[in-house]
């Protein structure tokens, strides 16, 4: 039992930390590619300086993302060997495809990009960044297909005591994977947009490099606005899909106890897991949850009481992570819409700029909350409906896992502190003079 909890904790530490860096890699690569292409098209040197400045931050972020990703790939074997043996036929092949079809390209080209400024034509150099962005997104595709399979296993049969692949296309193209991809990548793009807008706001508040950071801000603003809107729309589809595929997660994240129709959505509630009810329910929107989950106010929504006690996810964590995430999602849309109207007079809007500066951490928080909901909300299952997390861990000594858990916390803590310090320092110093 100790090994299970230590392994879960270690996986949480490793994943949360890894995902502090992944989104910025996904989104900033696209933004840098846009800047470099703008340089190629217009010949304006400022776009080149922008690509180089944001590129410096990108490279630090990229390296930490890479090295912490490797441990994740191997942790399935070290800490979740029973899971690996059970699902390797499907899950393992998806990870292997990610490495061969996407991650190779990304990692090979990052060196070419970082060291190749004087060796490639402007156009070729910009193309390299587009390829890095494409390969990163393709990496995300395969990883999220793998995660989607854990959330909603399809295209398999149980044979030889394990899940064996029967329909590859069903695994790859299932709706859950498509939605999860749009959701996660949009979140990554929002995070990157807010990062660029926040850092730009810092300099605009000080009225330094005004043209440079106004341009950066505006490119990021469009990006952020578009994907915040996409996220809100997709989030709705995602929730409706969950009602069908993971009713336990939906009930937990909405703190919905009694199976019923015409279910309201409370803007403020507080679940009480022990007594299977909510201690607080305020500001109901009549029929809203039925409408969101089942496209009609008359739709029936399964409540937690109809889900066996040992198949319910932790309600409070699911509920809080979901509602905070959604709140943040609406905030991102709202504030980028405000930004759209202020885009031509940014330096005259110090209050707005300050909000954007302090908003940098919020998409990070939203991303981690999203993964908390996805993974904690799936419990007690590691593969929904197929295998419980408690059956999945490796038969290793608790002392071994305890030791590596401490090492993870220490090493990642240090790494994160140093990495973010350098990223912040480069961001604060601003671009090299023209």
């Amino acid at each position: 039992m100790e090994v299970l909890w230590l392994s879960r904790l270690q996986f949480a530490v490793a994943t949360f930390f890894h995902f502090l860096f992944v989104p910025l890699t996904l989104g900033l690569s696209v933004l840098i590619a846009i800047m470099e292409t703008a340089h190629v098209k217009t010949g304006d040197e400022e776009y080149l300086r922008m690509a180089k400045f944001w590129g410096k931050i990108f490279l630090i972020n990229f390296v930490i993302g890479v090295v912490t990703g490797i441990t994740l790939e191997f942790q399935f074997g070290t800490n979740w060997s029973r899971y690996s043996a059970f699902v390797g036929d499907i899950f393992g092949s998806l990870l292997a495809i990610e490495a061969t079809a996407a991650f190779f390209l990304e990692s090979t080209l990052i060196g070419v990009w970082a060291f190749g400024w004087n060796r490639l034509s402007k156009k070729a150099h910009a193309t390299v960044m587009w390829l890095i962005a494409g390969a990163s997104t393709l990496s995300a595709v395969w990883i999220l297909i793998a995660n989607a399979w854990m959330q909603h296993p399809v295209g398999y049969t149980i044979r030889n005591g394990r899940a064996e692949l029967t329909d590859f296309a069903a695994v790859v193209f299932q709706k859950f994977a498509v939605l999860e991809f749009i959701h996660t990548v949009s979140a990554a793009f929002i995070l990157s947009a807010f990062f660029v807008m926040g850092v730009s706001a810092y300099h605009l508040l000080r009225r330094q490099h005004v043209s440079f950071f106004t341009r950066s801000f505006r490119i990021a603003l469009v990006f952020g606005l578009v994907f915040s809107a996409v996220e809100v729309l997709e989030g709705h589809l995602h929730g409706a899909d969950l009602a069908e595929k993971q009713p336990a997660k939906l009930a937990a994240m909405e703190a919905h106890w009694e199976t019923s129709t015409n279910v309201p959505k409370y803007l403020l509630a507080l679940p009480d897991e022990e007594n299977e009810r909510n201690t607080l329910e305020l500001f109901p929107l009549p029929g809203m949850l039925s409408l969101l989950a089942g496209h009609s106010v008359d739709a029936e929504v399964t409540g937690l009481r109809d889900i066996p006690g040992d198949e319910r996810p932790p309600v409070l964590i699911s509920f809080l992570s979901f509602n905070l995430m959604v709140g943040l999602g609406f905030y991102f849309l709202l504030i980028t819409v405000v930004g759209w109207f202020k885009r031509n007079r940014l330096t005259e809007s110090p209050f707005f700029l300050r909000i954007m500066l302090y908003s940098i951490p919020l998409p990070y928080l939203a991303s981690e909350l999203g993964w908390t909901l996805a993974e904690v909300g799936r419990q007690p299952w590691i593969v929904y409906g197929l295998m419980k997390t408690s059956e999945a861990f490796s038969p290793v000594a608790a002392s071994q896992v305890a030791f590596t858990l401490v090492a993870f916390v220490a090493i990642y803590g240090l790494l994160g502190a140093v990495g973010f310090y350098f990223m912040a320092r480069i961001a604060r110093r601003g671009p090299l003079p023209a």
Binding site: G88, G92, F115, G116, L165, I411
Partner: protein, 341 residues
């Protein structure tokens, strides 16, 4: 059956390519404190690896991923049995990666020395531990019929395992010295060449000892006795080792590096061929051993993965070769504004 056999050798090939590519990064990182005399030298060493180490490291991820995809039971039992050494390798590789990136962020000698130490430890440890791990796999690992490891932390540090660690370290050091010789000119180049020459007899002795010890400690030779033609791979490894010395004498550093790649690739295959059909043998009872036949994925998955591998690995090789060619010229350690590091 045929699919499983193909996958067995593809699995070996991915590990071989990882050792042939990242092997020189690991070796060069371990040599850093010894071949580089000043900051200029050290910058040159970093730049010799800078644009390509990350791409090289992905071969490890591919090897791990393919183990998971083609032999899930092996992936599960191998990585949980080798829990501590594998974690140590991963922590070391993290340290190496960030050391490259962090050292140039602050203009301070003490700061750089700290991350140079990180580069050294992060390169040295994996070089040795990969050798220890693979020698132990050749020998068999004490795990039972349920895939539960029955040894202790020290089980792996037996004489044969340690000899494997020493051999890998020496091979990688030689490989790294040769890569530095290829990538540099002037005094640093000369020092790289003389390091390679000094290390060479030690590599040879370790290799001969390992070939001999394998007869006593492992069953690797059973396949070779059954099919003597397979011994060509041993000859290839020896030819590679001799080639290093030959080309070093004639001053053709890059040919010596190719010979060294041949030696490392053949040495990996020497073990892989000897293991066949076992991927992860048990030392407790041969019946527990995980083989290409009893531990593989379903035929459908093996087929799909074969298609993916045959389609993408040549493409990967093509663009990695392009990247190597793009950075084929010699590196120098002068401060340059537009050069990363």
């Amino acid at each position: 059956m045929v699919l499983q056999t193909i996958w067995f050798f593809l699995w070996g090939l991915l590990w071989a390519v990882y050792f042939m590519t990242d092997g020189f990064d690991l070796g060069l990182g371990s040599l850093l404190p010894f071949v580089a005399r000043d900051e200029k030298d050290r910058r040159a060493v970093y730049r010799a690896m800078g644009p390509i180490w990350d791409g090289n490291e992905v071969w490890l991820i591919a090897a791990g991923g393919v183990t998971f995809a083609a032999f899930p039971t092996v992936y599960a039992v191998m990585f949980s049995s080798l829990y501590s050494p594998l974690m140590l390798i991963l922590f070391a590789l993290i340290l190496r990666g960030v050391s490259f990136e962090f050292r140039s962020q602050v203009e301070s000698a003490a700061w750089r020395r700290m991350w140079d130490a990180g580069t050294f430890v992060g390169s040295f440890l994996p070089a040795v531990l990969f050798g220890v791990a693979f020698a132990n796999i050749f020998q068999g690992i004490p795990f039972d019929g349920n895939g539960v490891y029955r040894g202790s932390l020290l089980t792996l540090l037996n004489p044969y395992g340690l000899l494997g660690g020493l051999l890998f370290l020496l091979l990688f050091l030689e490989h790294g010295a040769l890569w530095l010789a290829v990538k540099t000119d002037g005094p640093l180049h000369d020092r790289a060449v003389s390091t390679a020459k000094t290390l060479w007899p030690a590599v040879l002795v370790a290799a001969v000892l390992f070939l001999g010890a394998s007869a006593a400690a492992t069953d690797l030779y059973a396949n070779y006795l059954g099919q003597p033609l397979l011994s060509l791979v041993i000859l290839a490894a020896v030819a590679g080792l001799l080639g290093i010395r030959f080309f070093l004498r004639s001053g053709a550093a890059w040919k010596a590096w190719i010979a060294s790649s041949l030696a490392i690739g053949s040495a990996t295959f020497y073990g892989v061929i000897g293991l066949f059909p076992a991927v992860f043998p048990s030392s407790l009872d041969p019946a527990y051993s995980l083989t290409a036949h009893n531990a593989s994925s379903s035929p459908l998955t093996l087929k799909i993965m074969l298609g993916v591998t045959l389609a993408f690995v040549p493409v990967v090789l093509a663009y990695q070769t392009w990247a190597y060619m793009l950075f084929r010229d010699t590196v120098h350690g002068e401060e340059e504004p537009d050069v990363h590091y």
